[in-house]
Amino acid sequence: MRAPVCVTVLVWLLSDARQFTEEEMSAVRQRIKSMFYHAYNSYLDNAFPYDELRPLTCDGQDTWGSFSLTLIDALDTLLVLGNQTEFQRVASLLQDTVDFDIDVNASVFETNIRVVGGLLSAHLLSGRAGMQLEPGWPCSGPLLRMADDAARKLLPAFQTPTGMPYGTVNLLKGVSPTETPVTCTAGVGTFILEFATLSRLTGDPTFENAARQALRALWKTRSDIGLVGNHIDILSKKWVAQDAGIGAGVDSYFEYLVKGAILLQDEELLNMFLEYDRAIQNYTRFDDWYLWVQMHKGTVSMPVFQSLEAFWPGLQSLLGNLDSAVRTFQNYYSVWRQFGGLPEFYSIPQGYTVDKREGYPLRPELIESAMYLFRATGDHTYLQLGLDALESIEKITRTPCGYASVKDLRDHQLDNRMESFFLAETIKYLYLLFDPAHFLHGGAAEGDGSWEEGGEDRQCVLGAGGFIFNTEAHPLDPAALYCCSRHAQDRQELRDILLSLPKEKKKTRSKPAAKHTEDPPHGPSVSIALKPGEKKTPPLLSCPVQPFSARLSILGQVFTDNT
């Protein structure tokens, strides 16, 4: 909304360390910036144009393809940190150097979230970065064309009988005939944000249709108790790995159902998620941990917490399910405090890492959840986690060139890798956590910079209503989607309504409601008073009521779920 409550809440000066003052937060932001530039400059100096920096040997390597992945991924982080000039330089550099007509086998999923997502958000932010804009921006532009180009290379993977995509595609030749048909669940259901954005911006519905087809196909394969496994054969629709949970292999599928529903105001996606959520809460949740269960029987198969699962509290907060989110977050936070990072697998009964899964590749998920929960609650516990993360990463993983993944959290041995999501996500969320007035949070101070204009005849209002982050933390602006897809049409309708208003009052009132079928059923004259005995069901895409105890759940205090 407008300037959020937290902005002004933060100005208190308190003796207790639990409360951060504006000065402290600004100091932390500076530290995060210098962390970013240490890693970013090391990449440019030692690794560019490879995909990733290797921080122990100070050189680069290609990992997910060969398209300077770290640079594409980090591009919008530059703008988040306020560096417009470098953003402009890199954006033009990428336009000149990156080529997707290469004979490389690339992961469809990773290419989508990192490359397509990165380019889309860079495109949407290029107005704020002060770049030269094409007249039709945000509905056209060089970065959008690049994103379109990259996404088009992925489309052959969707050409399957079921509509679910292969996991890997050759960017030049399409799907290899020997390609395995086994794909992870997230690899099937993590396209709707980028693909719908592409479709709505360019007007070409192919992408959104492909993503929706895959989602619907996947929805039909869920088990009788409403769960999905984590690997599926996309040709036979058989579940190859039947562990159901919210972590690796599944995580971003659920994330995209929720975020897709919000971005596109799509109740179909939200209904899918809510149904999954019921099953997840029913079968996998124990003491606010989420375990892995057999997808058909619901029996516990792995009592572990995975680092990737830490996105879940943030996702819950997007739906207003704060009390449950807070409790789960506290569980995960306790694991962080035990090791100074989240191990890939953490055995809940043993309270320790799992063999061969002790690493922490600088993942962002817990920080991401902290950011959402701080936005929703204003509780400084989440800032404290941010500070914990900052200190740990600096103390444990900093090397002379960049930041190294932790190979083993038990002794903090380092690995020779710095994944591109460290710059794209970890640092971005950390920075946004400590900058509650940031424009990505949906408008800073009212007035300058809280929105911008765009579209045909500069008629659209952009960036005024908050952003949706894809699973690689690339922000997408819902207003831009609206601007390029429905804005002109709606304006025309509105004009018709206004012009015909005096003549046929009755008709006009029902007209817009009939056209916008996906609208929540609100009329301008809905009465707020309830008749006795009437029960009002809230519209699906609205926020639920918080329990009374929510006002007391601060400072680590949690309350039992009464539902």
């Binding site: 002794d411 020779n416 908050g466 609206y482 009521v545 918080q546 680590g556």
Partner: protein
Amino acid sequence: MLRRVRQSSLRQALFLMARRPGLLCGAVLLGVLLVLAVKFTCSRAKNVVAAARPPVRFFSAEAPIVDLYLGQLDQVERLRSVAEVSLIFFYAPWCAHSMAARQEVQQVAKKLAKQVQFLAVNCWWNHGKCRKQNRFYQYPIIHLFYRRFGPIEYKGPYVAPYVESFILRVITPLTYLPSRDALKEFLSYHEPRVVGFFQFNSSPQPPGYMTYLSSALQALKRDFRGVVRFGVVTNKQVAEAISLKEDESVYLNRRFNSSLIFPRRERNFTSEAICSWVFEHRETVLQWLQPPGTKSRLLEHELSKGPALLLFLPHNPLGTKPSPMLQQIADIAVRYHSCDNANHSSSEETSPPHSCCQSVPLPEFSARVCEVCLRLSPSSLSSSSVRCSFSSTTTRGGEVFQSHLRHCCLHRLPAASLNSSEGCSHFLSSYSPFSQYSACCREVEPQLNQSQAKEEQAAPLPPPPSPLAPSSQTGGGITGLRCHTNRTLRFYVLDVALNWPLAERLGATGNRSVSPHQGAGAQGDGSFATIVHLKDEVHYVLHRSAAATLTESLEAFIRNFSAPHSLLQRHLVGEEDRTAGEGETPHADTQQPPPRRFITELTTSSFLPCSHGRGKGCAAVLLHSVVWILLRSQPRPHPASAAVAGKRLRHRGQGECCP
């Protein structure tokens, strides 16, 4: 790192070559091989790993703390064995909490280094003995040892005064009570007190004494504040004051029920047994709460017991005596819980404070008197010769008296004359725990009017027909209220500095950057009081006017809550901002505008006036719906903010609060 090694070795080789050219060929060959080998391994970098850096000192060298940064646990044992009291600080060098606590511990160490051995142990380094023998789930951890007794884990906040006060408690777990006066004073506090009687005349140390002392240390494990105090009496005459006759007996002082003596025959005389016996049978009228900061259900556990009065007070754990404010509240809590008051129980400790009063007829109003009472706590009454003296011959007493008279009867009467239900006001001009003035304006019966000065025991008025109507209550109107009402309150105290975020959530206002001890819901002393009723989903906030004292307003607050039809206004989130915004003149050129809520909690009664043009709050509500209806995907609220919106837009039981 690797590169640096490579460079330095190359530099060395070049240096050698310059001196002995014969080596050149071999060196070049070797160098090429080396470079090739490095290049080869690096290009297959999968197996390049780096061990964690070896640990370094965590504390600065000046700090009087032994920093065992290699986790040498055996050193800990050695150093601990020679010290009377030692503190061990287990840390992880990467942990932000350890870093923050480091400052605090350092501060305490500078003060107490002479009495306490401070040890810091890196319990993270996996080659260190500490890590090998312990598994901690979080850092830092503080353990204390009193000689061989321990570890006593510190569970309080990592703030210097709290840590220091805890250490002081460990250093002197027992209070020596040499005289009857000391004993009286020791027992006069509202907190649980334990007294042990040990005669030291026979042997240098009675056998049970160490057990008793460890039970005091044992209690510190459960309660880092050391609320339960343990005293020791060695003199037979002193012990007789609390009718302890047998040597090596332990006495638990209680106010409302009879005090207890540890049943040595039924229970083993061990420190654990004594400690659990004390915690089982103690009386608590006022309980400290301190959320630990990690996931906990402390508040839920306490609040689900029933309605709770949460008092947020400034607190200095190092103060030798409880602050005056805390004493006043303790006094209220004790009176609230004193149920047998009407029967005038014989026990001296349980009886309410004595009062002596003087009625002063007011010249302007013939039917009214002003009654000024000096309330005396029992111990002072018995131990000293304070009389009911309002004589204006002692100038100071006269002054106090006059000022009270002015305060109560002359200033208040015009208002009170309209409403004769004026209760008593308690004053605190100079606080002494033993005496307190109060003044009541009363409609007087003729026969009462004649008594000029009378000794009374806490106003034995006829029991009011409705026990709760505040109009029929006078001085100490909440005495024994606990037993008259079915809405029993529990009293909780929280340190406002540590729990300000919670207070703020519950409606405490005040910009604490101006002064830490100002604002806070119009309470100039930095305190904040609220009643939370979890089951009914309501909470009330005490709004104090500048004229009323803490005791006065708190008593009225409690009385109003206890009334069958609660006289209090439910606190709604956001309401005080609106009223404050209207009442206050805005600061000229404020750099920091006061925190503004954008969403106000509404009920049906407040919705209509608000929606008809008055409220900014409603604009938000309407904005919410307008966004969804008309503008659709244009300025869409951030979902998380909308979640906050949802939280505030709570269905309130009285009707739908928002569209």
